[in-house]
């Protein structure tokens, strides 16, 4: 009955013991490895863009809760004005903007441009945030702005000089994805409505499809570009807006330097009323300086 040879038994025990030791040895290697087995927490992707704008157009970013985001933007004259106007630097127009974050994902803004003495009020809402585990692969931010011209003579027709004729509106969605630490891209469809148009046969509504992106070339420096394609040009001299820029971040400030063929710095102007031609040198140098204040 007892046919199990003692030698085999001891051999088996030896093997068992060996495995046992080996397993313990493995385990003793690193306590940290035990902790590393836990999954990293999922979080919303941060800093898709450095600023709330890519160049002219909105990025998917909003100021955080109780943060006042203040931007002073300058746009100089056409570079092809030549040396007499110091390549446009004599002719600056500026835009001042205050955006305030009511929550981490929703902000309200007011702005004023010297160009056409325009006032703006805007709302911006981060509807969807990209997540680190890619369950949400891109972010969607909605933006709406109402613009009012304030210049005294904005139309030759005296009967048209009503307040509502001064108004225009732009609605857009910013669909953005941070592909890597360096590369972020955005797709920005926009709809612009102008209450007053130049000619009776001009369209009041304009659709544009925009694309923008940034590529970080250093820890605090990125190259940016954006392009807006007008689906239907309503006049021969209207161009698609193309801008190239550099973002430099210095902790609390972001400097944005750019060249663009758009003169205006608010949505209706750069999306639908760009007239500068890149090939003619009818382009503008500009810079934005943004600063955040916490409350």
């Amino acid at each position: 009955m007892n046919t199990f040879p003692p030698r085999l038994l001891s051999c088996t025990l030896l093997v068992f013991g060996f495995i046992f030791q080996f397993a313990c040895g493995l385990h003793a290697q690193s306590l940290l490895d035990d902790l590393e087995m836990d999954e990293a927490p999922v979080h919303p992707v941060y800093a898709t863009f450095k600023d709330t704008r890519i160049i002219n157009v909105q990025s998917n970013e909003t100021p955080g809760e109780n943060v006042m985001h203040f931007v002073i933007a300058h746009r100089f004259g056409q570079i092809n004005e030549g040396a007499y106007a110091l390549w446009g630097l004599d002719n600056a127009s500026m835009r001042m903007a205050f955006d305030y974050g009511l929550t981490d994902r929703f902000c309200v803004g007011v702005a004023r441009s010297t160009f056409q003495k325009t006032f703006e009020t805007s709302l911006k809402w981060k509807l969807l945030q990209q997540t680190s585990d890619d369950r949400v692969p891109f972010g969607v931010t909605l933006f709406g702005v109402g613009m009012a011209r304030g210049d005294s003579v904005f139309t030759s027709n005296i009967d048209s000089r009503t307040f509502s004729n001064r108004l225009s509106y732009t609605y857009q969605a910013v669909i953005a994805r941070k592909w890597s630490e360096k590369l972020s891209l955005a797709l920005v469809p926009s709809f612009t409505h102008r209450n007053l148009v130049e000619f009776t046969n001009s369209a009041h509504d304009q659709w544009t499809i925009g694309a923008g992106g940034r590529y970080k070339i250093a820890q605090r420096v990125s190259l940016n570009c954006e392009y807006h394609y007008l689906l239907k040009k309503y006049a021969a001299d209207i161009e698609n807006s193309l801008s190239l820029g550099v973002d430099i971040e210095t902790g609390g400030h972001v400097f944005q330097l750019h060249i663009t063929n758009s003169r205006g710095m608010f949505e209706r102007a750069f999306l639908t009323e760009t007239t500068g031609r890149w090939l003619d040198g009818a382009i503008f140098f500009g810079f934005n300086l943004s600063r955040v204040f916490d409350f």
Partner: protein, 171 residues
Amino acid sequence: MMLVASHFCIGQQWMTRNGTVDFFSATFVENIEATNEMASGLLAEDGRFAFRVPILGFRFEKALMEEHFNENYLESTRYPNGTFEGVISNWNEALQDGQWHEVIATGSLTIHGVPVNREIPSKLQWNGKSWQIETEFTVATAAHEIPIPKMVRDKIAEEISVSVNLSLSPR
């Protein structure tokens, strides 16, 4: 079989997944504070100790500070965790008497992907159910190759104070 074997030879372990880490940077211009409640710690019967904190779990008062902390300084996408691995050098069973004991955690502290050997004085108490560990120490940003540009040097301290609170229950 190896799994079974390894299970038997682990011995007693104590663990937490929601330890607290606070840090504080003080200069005459600005104080910066952040809190993280996602630290995990593991203590073995033989006094070996491991600790891990996800860098993205630090919460700051200002959203932009948090962004800069992750994007510019700690590069948390590349280096997602801060870790410590070592031994509690004067560890023995007699510590389990309900009193606070001064101990020294000796090992490797890794932040920003750069390991630094440290001896960190800590306090330890067995409260009948779990081990309480408390420690305060400083982290030199330069030692972990965290560059601080000249422009913000008066806002960010070169030595950051860190405090850790863990309550390790039987695993």
